[in-house]
Symmetry: C2
Subunit: 334 residues, 2 copies
DNA sequence: ATGGAGTATACAATCGTTTGCATTTCATGA
DNA sequence: TCATGAAATGCAAACGATTGTATACTCCAT
């Protein structure tokens, strides 16, 4: 049904050797400019496109990068965080700019070794892994065999691989300072400090208050996972217990949204009575109604950095910095 | 750095011909069971994995399906809708189950012909396109050249390709009935009826009210795009203008969330004074605090259906039904 | 004219699998 | 023991591109 044009046919039409066609299409400087253009024109006319598998086989490079999005146990929850899709988009575009395709894998359970498979089968030249959470050891193992992968996530001492992410301590610091500058003194923290990234944000949270000379009540911390299924009730209970707050730093925008709902339900106004700052700057944040003040992770920049770093590694460059920071910005809604 | 084990080496170790190895790994019935197991064991030991490009070249099949997520102009907005990522996850898993990889492309502008490229280069055997919105004509053109693609979206008369999606009219009907059954009489619709899917939901919305003998005031429709950047203010203005409502049917969960914020800001309680129903059942909905009542599209099932349908087409089966419906469920928060 | 330095193109090997066909191995019955 | 068919394995030709090396072609200086 589908006519498969091969390079050989194209060569015949152009009355040159197939090797010349190949060089022409790959912009080799040795082919004369006029021939190159002629060949290119014919290619467009007959709708020829280089066969990827053949090219990959010969080149020993798939011109594709793999992306692994682990979901661990709480598949549903993690999945629903818009952050991930924004990252897929950012990486896809950055890859496309460099003429690479993106092979996405969403391993069902963490035990799978999706990364290894992608690399060993030669389907991808390198891998981008989103999030390390509970997989640090596994990634360390992988690092001993393959070096061509980059991980999105916070900087972790014992990680033996290249990481890209924002400076979470700084992010927590910025968010908290934002609240302090606006007069908040009794700030509640939302998130699970057992998660590495959240822990760092919490550190920044504490640091900012210490610097400002504010004494922080350690009970002003509500542990909850990223999903936020329980956030609403937890916050409500916290308020009902008589705790007074004038600020909330939520470790994700999802949690912030839920928290705002709870505050309003309790008759508090945002940001009148309580100021709320989120984290991530998922695209939704800016349209969240009212817009949410959040710490931006510049996801698009992060995706681009990961792709560039990965390709640099593939080309054998020594990537000296093991950790690269993306920009952080407070997007204020006020 | 990376030792590349080839099938030939594996064959030597196993002291058989490379062709036997190939057949063994592909579970050909002609190789003796004992040899098959022996070869498999050795393969595991030395960590051999079939080289994908070579296999694809020879087989003339990439064992990969492409997924195109068009973002049109309002890239940001569309992108932030969690629906898309859930779909990526669903398709990825369905594909993985059938041993296919997933190549994701997020074309920057709608003018690109990402689908064609993926197919022509042989990088993907078939394509899944998410959303048709403004691209119906382009997809119709594509359909004349390639038949191996499936589109997610509402059923549209002039579409000449295979579509999978939920029954949007029915969905709108279900949502509206849900509100009516609970006593709502003055229901506001949120969404842009210029979008095909939304139009159908609106039709269902009208139909349900007509059946119930409720006269619907056509001014109870706030046009807004999926992004929902303006939803909060639009709803607030609508209320301030003195319009009374006791129900809202939002054509997406994002809009519903914004609407709830606006209602609460106006001093109305949800669902006490106004009942709100969303659409999509993005994972977030159930944890949206308070949980949102929404019409579920069963995204996971939808993704699976698309993959199965696509593979059936690839195998030449005549896919008779041009439109396949996924299940619809009202997830009630009450 | 002719040699030589470039420049442009052609030849042919190769990448790692899969698969049609030929060949060997094996068990079985005569 | 040997022919015989079936079962298991081996041989070799693809698949469609890329690339090192060899050849042909230009153009100019002698």
């Amino acid at each position: 049904m589908n006519k498969k044009v091969t390079m050989l046919e194209l060569a015949k039409i152009a009355r040159v050797d197939i090797s010349t066609v190949s060089r022409a299409l790959n912009n080799s400087p040795v082919v004369k400019e006029s021939t190159r253009r002629r060949i290119q024109r014919i290619a467009d006319e007959i709708g020829y496109a280089v066969n990827a598998p053949a090219s990959s086989l010969r080149r020993k490079s798939a011109r594709a990068i793999g992306m692994v999005i682990p979901l661990d146990q709480e598949a549903e929850q993690t999945m629903s965080d818009p952050f991930y899709l924004e990252m897929v988009g950012a990486v896809s575009q950055a890859a496309a700019d460099l003429d690479y395709d993106l092979v996405v894998t969403v391993p069902r359970d963490a035990r799978q070794v999706a990364e290894r498979r992608l690399l060993n089968t030669g389907r991808a030249d390198g891998i981008i892994v989103i999030g390390q959470a509970a997989r640090i050891e596994r990634l360390n193992e992988l690092a001993e065999v393959h070096s061509n992968f980059v991980v999105w996530g916070g900087r972790i001492k014992r990680a033996k691989y290249t990481t890209v992410g924002s400076d979470n301590v700084k992010g927590g610091h910025i968010a908290t300072s934002h609240l302090l500058e606006r007069g908040a003194r009794r700030i509640l923290f939302l998130g699970d400090p057992d998660l590495p990234e959240v822990k760092l944000r919490y550190d920044g949270f504490l640091k900012a208050q210490k610097e400002a000379g504010i004494s922080h009540d350690p009970s002003y911390l509500l542990r909850m996972n990223f999903g936020g299924r329980t956030t609403y009730n937890q916050v409500l209970d916290f308020l009902r217990a008589g705790n007074k707050i004038d600020g909330i730093f939520a470790s994700s925008d999802l949690l912030a949204n839920s928290a705002i709902h709870a505050l309003v339900a309790k008759g508090l106004s945002v940001p009148g009575d309580v100021r709320v700052v989120g984290y991530d700057n998922i695209g939704q944040a800016s349209m969240m109604t009212p817009p949410l003040t959040t710490v931006s992770q510049n996801i698009s920049q992060g995706g681009q950095m990961m792709v560039e770093l990965l390709l640099a590694k593939l080309e054998g460059e020594k990537v000296n910095s093991r950790f690269t920071k993306t920009e952080l910005i407070v997007r204020d809604s006020a």
